[in-house]
C-alpha cells in the first residue's frame, strides 16, 4: 500500500507544530547540564529561564519563539518507497493547514528577498529538498523551520588546500562574528569540501545531528571536540550576555572534492528546532525527534 499524500500533508503540518512548541529532549538535557555547570550567575539564570520557558511552552501548547521561521523540509526518499499523489503539493497544503489551524496563530515570516514583503505562502514555499536512499521502503522527513536570529550568521568561503590552522580559524571567525546574537548556546554545523552547494548542505545537515553523535572519522571527531572547547572558552555565554555555555555542539561533515575547499558554517539557536519522522510503505509513522 503506498504512502498517501494525505498522510504526508497531515504529518508535515504536525511536524512544524511540534518543532515550534517544544525543544528536542536531548537539547533540554544539554541545557540542564550547562545550567548546573555555568559559573556566571547571569548565565545560570538565563539557562534556567530557557528551561522554564520552553517547558511551559510544551505543557501549555504555546510557541517557544515568536519567530516561527520559514518552512524548511528535507526528505529522504527510499528507492522502494511508494507514494500516492504529489509529495511537494502535499507539503504545501500541509503548511497552509498549519497556518489556518495552529493555536496560537503564527506571524507572517515568509519574506520576499527583494521587496521584503511578508506572507504565509509564496512560490517555492515550503523549501523542500530531496535525497535518495537505496534499498529503503520509507521516506524520512526532517522539518527545521529556520528563523532570522541564527539563520543570518551562516557563512561560506572557498579555500585552496587549507591547513587545519586555517580551517579552525575560519570556523572561530564565523563564531565570533555571530557573537552574542545567534541566541547561544548554539549548535554549530560545519561542512568542509565538495562543491560550494554541497558544503552548505553538509553544514546544514550537521546542525540537525542528534546530540552526542560525533563524526565517525576520528580526525574529524577530534576537530569537533577542539572547536567546541575553544568556542566555550570565548565567553559569550547564554543569550550572549556572558558565561561559559556558548555552544552545545560543533558538528562537522566532510566530503572529498578538489584542491579548492569550501568551508560552510551555520548555526542553530538554543531552541534547536528539528523534528524527524519516517513513514513506511505500510503507512506507519515513526517519530525520531
Amino acid at each position: 500500500m503506498p504512502i498517501s499524500s494525505q498522510l504526508i500533508r497531515s504529518v508535515t503540518a504536525q511536524m512544524y507544530e511540534w518543532s515550534l512548541k517544544q525543544i528536542p529532549d536531548d537539547t533540554r538535557d544539554v541545557l540542564k547540564k550547562f545550567a548546573a555547570a555555568e559559573r556566571n550567575p547571569v548565565g545560570r539564570k538565563t539557562l534556567a529561564i530557557m528551561l522554564e520557558s520552553s517547558e511551559a511552552a510544551k505543557q501549555n501548547s504555546q510557541l517557544v519563539c515568536s519567530d516561527v521561521g520559514f518552512p524548511v523540509y528535507m526528505i529522504k526518499v527510499g528507492s522502494r518507497a511508494q507514494i500516492d499523489g504529489n509529495l511537494r503539493q502535499a507539503i504545501t497544503d500541509g503548511f497552509a493547514d498549519l497556518v489556518d489551524g495552529i493555536n496560537p496563530p503564527i506571524l507572517q515570516m515568509v519574506t520576499h528577498p527583494l521587496t521584503h514583503k511578508r506572507s504565509y505562502a509564496a512560490p517555492g514555499m515550503p523549501q523542500v529538498t530531496f535525497d535518495w536512499v537505496d534499498d529503503a521502503d520509507y521516506i524520512e522527513i526532517t522539518c527545521s523551520p529556520k528563523a532570522l536570529g541564527s539563520g543570518r550568521w551562516a557563512a561560506l568561503e572557498i579555500f585552496v588546500y587549507p591547513s587545519l590552522d586555517q580551517v579552525e580559524k575560519y570556523v572561530m571567525d564565523c563564531v565570533l562574528r555571530a557573537g552574542s546574537q545567534a541566541c547561544p548556546p548554539i549548535v554549530v554545523g560545519v561542512g568542509i569540501g565538495g562543491t560550494f552547494d554541497y558544503a552548505a548542505k553538509m553544514a546544514k545537515e550537521a546542525t540537525l545531528r542528534p546530540h552526542g553523535v560525533h563524526n565517525e572519522d576520528p580526525m574529524v571527531a577530534a576537530l569537533e571536540e577542539r572547536l567546541l572547547k575553544a568556542i566555550n572558552a570565548t565567553g559569550f555565554g547564554p543569550m550572549g550576555t556572558g558565561g561559559d555555555a556558548t555552544a552545545m555542539a560543533v558538528n562537522v561533515n566532510i566530503s572529498h572534492g578538489h584542491g579548492f575547499v569550501p568551508i560552510a558554517v551555520c548555526f542553530n539557536c538554543w531552541i534547536n528546532r528539528r523534528t524527524r519522522v519516517r513513514i513506511g510503505n505500510d503507512g506507519e509513522v515513526t517519530r525520531y525527534e
Binding site: S53, N60, V64, S66, D67, P104, P105, G179, A230, G242
Partner: protein, 220 residues
Amino acid sequence: MSSHASRASATHHLTLPVTAEDVRKIAVGDMVYLNGEIVVTIGLPTHQRILDNAASGGHLPQALPHGAFFHLSCYNRETADGSYEALYMNPSTSTRYNSYMPRIVKALDLRMVGGKGGLDAASVAAMRETGCIYLSFLGGGCTMLARAIEKVVAVDWTDYISQFRLVTLQVKDLGPATVGIDAHGNSIYTTLAQEAQDKLPALLAQMKAEREAAAPPAGE
C-alpha cells in the same frame, strides 16, 4: 569594564516611567523586572515612521517619549468588540535596527531600549547622552514573556502586519531581562566581543597544540 563574570549582579524591580537618573543607577549585568507601559515593534518601516512622526509632530504613542521601546515581536489582533488582544511576544535581533536607533533614542529621549543581541557603538553613545539602558530579553522566551502582558493599551499603525505595528502594552513583572548596555557607555556586547577577539590567538594556539600532541606532524 572587565569581564562581568566576577561582579555581583543586582536585580531591579522598576515601574515605568523612570527618569534618566533612575536608569543611571543600573549597571551592565544587572537583571530587571518591569512594570508599567512599554512600546514594542519589530518593523523596520515602523522605525522610519517613528522618526518621521517625531520630526513632523505626527502621532506617536503616549508612552513612547521618555519611555521604554523594545524590539519585541508581538502577535496582536482585533477582537469582536473592536479592542485588541496580544497573544504573545518575544525579542528580535536589535542590531537590525542599528541605523535607526541612535536617532530614535535621541529624538524621543528614551530611557530603555531592548530586544536581544545588543546595539552598535553609535546607539551606545546616544543612550549615554539621553540616559538609557538596553535590556536583553530571552530569545525563545515567548511563553514566559507573554505571562507579563496585562493589557493592550494601544495598537498604532494597523496598516502594518501584526508584528510591525507599534503596540503599547501594560506589563507586570516583565523579565528577568539582563542589562546589556548601561547609561554610562558600557556594553556587555562590545566587551564580550573584544574579550573573545583577544582570546582568539591563544585558543587557536591551543587547538594547534592539541592537534600536534595527538598526531605529531609527519615532516613531509
